[in-house]
Structure formats: structure tokens, C-alpha cells
């Protein structure tokens, strides 16, 4: 079963955004922040992309951070491949199109757009990751 946590945080407005996030989202953000700095410090080589995903016995968490500081997080089961590509696609085809290009969406607050939700849903339901599991 797929779950999706979607947080958009950018440095100048991080405080404002964190204020309205639920406590679970705050914990998630804190954990990801720690993992990110942990990975960049412990890596013996210069990390190009940094933290990509982690895996537990039950699930895998995939992480995508854009150069603008936007973070996309997806939890899947452990056999899923290419979740990162799906996150890229989510950013490119849904977030950019229906949030950035929607003049009525403010970028420093939680996304309210119904159309955005619809398109996220569509993208995930037509993705091969989703289909292969639901059989």
C-alpha cells in the first residue's frame, strides 16, 4: 500500500510553513533534515545527490530534493523500483503545472488546489508502481 507525504518547504519561509504543519509532518521534516546532514557529513566522497532513500524491513522511503529546496517524499514497499523517477515526474508535471502556474496558489502556504490533488491522484494511479501492486 502506498502512502504519500508531500511537504513543500523553502528556507525563507520555513518557519511559517512549519508552524502550520501537523506534528507528524514536523517529525518527518526533522528526521529528513537530520538524515540529510548525517549523510553529507559521513560520506567519504563528495556527495553529488546526497540522501536518496532508506529502507526498513517493512517499507522504503524515497526522497527527492529540488535545487529550490522543495522536498518530495514517497513511502513504498521494498520491491518498488524507479520511485525517484515518479517523484521527478510529480515535481515536473504536477507541482510545476498546477501549483507554480496557478496564480491563485500562494507558494508559502499549504497547497489547497483541488485540481492539484486530482492530478497527483491521477499520476500515481496510472504509474506502473501503483498498478503492479494492486493486482
Amino acid at each position: 500500500k502506498k502512502q504519500m507525504a508531500h511537504s513543500t518547504t523553502q528556507s525563507p519561509i520555513e518557519k511559517a510553513t512549519l508552524y502550520v504543519l501537523s506534528s507528524e509532518a514536523k517529525l518527518m521534516y526533522g528526521m529528513l533534515f537530520s538524515i540529510k546532514s548525517f549523510v553529507s557529513k559521513i560520506s567519504p566522497l563528495d556527495p553529488k545527490e546526497g540522501f536518496l532513500y532508506y529502507k526498513t524491513s517493512k517499507y522504503t522511503l524515497h526522497y527527492l530534493e529540488t535545487p529550490s529546496g522543495l522536498k518530495f517524499v514517497l513511502n513504498t514497499d521494498n520491491v518498488t523500483q524507479n520511485a525517484r523517477e515518479l517523484l521527478q515526474q510529480l515535481y515536473r508535471e504536477v507541482y510545476l503545472e498546477y501549483v507554480v502556474k496557478n496564480p491563485l496558489c500562494q507558494l508559502n502556504e499549504p497547497i489547497q488546489s483541488e485540481l492539484f490533488k486530482l492530478k497527483v491522484d491521477e499520476l500515481f494511479k496510472k504509474s506502473p508502481l501503483f498498478l503492479s501492486r494492486s493486482i
Binding site: 503545472e97 498546477y98 502556474k101 496557478n102 496564480p103 491563485l104 489547497q112 488546489s113 483541488e114 485540481l115 486530482l118
Partner: protein, 175 residues
Amino acid sequence: MRQQIIDTKINLHASGEADECLFEYLHAEMVNYALSKSCKNKEGEEELSRLEWMGFSVGYRIIERLTREWNRFKDELDMIKFICTDFWSSLYHKQIDNLRTNHHGVYVLQDNSFRLLNKVGTNSNKQYLQETPRLLSFTCGLLRGSLANLGIISTVNAEISTLPSCKFHVQVQRI
């Protein structure tokens, strides 16, 4: 003559993503700016006449550029048809989907997927319906301005019932 217009149109299309979103972002900021400058009037409606005036000036100029290869138009309907096809597709990358007229100076131009609205919502949700008039008043002015430069004095209103489709009502003023 006609062929050349189509050629420049194709070039406009081919020039890619950047020019498209530049206009969209600039338009969004113009709307924000116009709203920040105006206070609400008595009925609590937003004051959008400044935005409409910007559209008018742009439309008045744009028509010079778009009609430079054209002969004079036969009549009013001919001009409106030009607006629905060439004008609309060079600005919004598609043609008007439906044109109605009562042959007495009222024209209704319907666009089923208006470019400035199709990232905002679909017909399945009523969200943002309140805010959409501010995304249309520039285009109303644009229509009014371009018709004015073609010699038609008019008033233009917009109507939205379901996103992202909208209707522009053009009422020609007879003198």
C-alpha cells in the same frame, strides 16, 4: 498574404515553453499588483478596471501587429471571426471554440479551455470560482482594445460557470 501570417504564428508556437510561462507569470503579477492598489468598492467586488485598462492598451497595440499582412475586413462579423481565429490562437495558442451572435451587435465567444484558467480548476470542483473574475478582466480589456482599433466601440464582459471554460460577451455600441 494569409500564408505569411500562419508562418509567423507557427514560429511563435515553436519558440517554446519560456515565452508561454513568462506571459502567464507576468499576468499573475499584474493581477496581484492591480488588486493591491485598489480597495474594494461598495458591493464588496474587487476593483478591476485598472487591469481592464491595461488590457485595452495592449489590445489596441497588438492589433496593429497582427493585421499588418491583412486586407481590410468586409464587415463586423469578419473582424470578430479574425479575433476568434488568428488573434486568439496567436495569444492563447488555440481558437475560440464557439461563436454566437444575434446579428444585432451581440457576440458571445466561448473558450472551453481558456489558457489562463486551465491550471486553476476543472468542472468537477467549484474551488476558486470566486477569484476567477480577476483572471479575466485583462482579457476583456484586450478584446475591447483590439476591437476599438478596428473601429468597433464595445463593452466586453466575461462569464464563467465551470472552469476552465469561459464566455466573453461583446456588446457593440451603435452610435
